[in-house]
Amino acid sequence: MADADIKNSNNEFAKLFSEKANELMGRLENNDLAGAVGLIQDLQQVRDENLYQEIGQLTRALHESIKNFKLDGDSKGAGSEIDGAHEGLQYVVEMTAKAANKTMDKVDESMPLSEAIASEASEIHQEWNRFLNKDLSADEFRELTKRINTFLENTDKNTRKLNGNLSDILLAQDFQDLTGQVIQRITTMVTDVEARLVNLVAMAGHVDQMTGIKHSVVDTPDEIDDPNKGVGPQLNAEDNEDVASDQDDVDDLLSSLGF
């Protein structure tokens, strides 16, 4: 790895440097000035070459680090993890908005129904009390029985509708599970990116010294490798042939397997 390369070249450089330095001392003692100047030039060249080499290695290490920001084994093959997170959060926004709207629609639909039931019940109750107090004429009583009949019919119908709406509202809460899974994945990714950024910063900190560059690639285990582990909701099921985009797809696949 780049780490080992840099150490090796540093060792070589140090060795060469001390050899040449000894030679330089010898030449100076022998008053060989021209030879000494030549040696200094040699030394400078070696230093320059070493510097270029190290910069090259550093660039490569940096490049590898940047490459690690890409998604591993992504089905689309392209796009950084940041893009993935962006897409995931977009999914969360859409799912939560859809759930909230559906819930509010159903509540809006339900409120007038329950209000109507309440107000009609209260009016009928008053009339009924008049009847119990024998305040009601025969005509009024006939009117009341008709009213009660209609009320019972409507209540039967409306409470069914209310139950259906409540059930839809309940089902609309499934977004919490789906978005929760996406958010958990993004949280893990952000933690990984943070660790790699710290690495990059540490690397940059070593540029001045040009030595002891710590380039440790964080090997994150690829979760997709374990078929037992799930991958969570598919964000673009329609665009991916490996993914069932809806329940009909699942049913088709299962029936092709003899289900």
Partner: protein, 124 residues
């Protein structure tokens, strides 16, 4: 009919339990992953298992495999209700012996249909 609902998200467990109740199944219990579910299944007399796939600890597919390996549990009907929608995952679940597979998000009608289909097949 005693049913175990396994999902790591409590909202989803609640949704499934409510839908089951609407379908007339009131005797339900919950577990949040395979590791909690398996001992419950082994010690309780459950008639039906509804499980998610993606859970920390033991996943749903692992739970399914354990159930099929267990002499006393191997005939237990298992419905997978999951966001996992990759074709090879569905095939893997079928091979592991799942009785039904519902992908999230799902509707009450789909859940009802799959459950009824499972019991038709089990009873028939």
């Amino acid at each position: 009919m005693k049913i175990l609902v396994v999902d790591d998200f409590s909202t989803m467990r609640r949704i499934i339990k409510n839908l089951l109740r609407d379908l007339g199944f009131t005797n339900t219990q919950e577990a949040d992953d395979g590791n909690t579910a398996l001992p419950m299944l082994q010690s309780g007399d459950f008639d039906f298992l509804v499980t998610d796939w993606n859970m920390p600890g033991m996943t749903g597919i692992e739970l399914l495999k354990h159930v099929r390996e267990d002499e006393r549990l191997k005939k237990l009907p298992v419905l997978m209700v999951t966001a996992e929608a990759k074709r090879d995952q569905i095939v893997a679940a079928a091979q592991a012996g799942v009785n039904g597979y519902v992908i999230k998000p799902f509707t009450a009608a789909v859940l009802k249909e799959k459950i009824e289909k499972i019991f038709e097949r089990v009873d028939g």
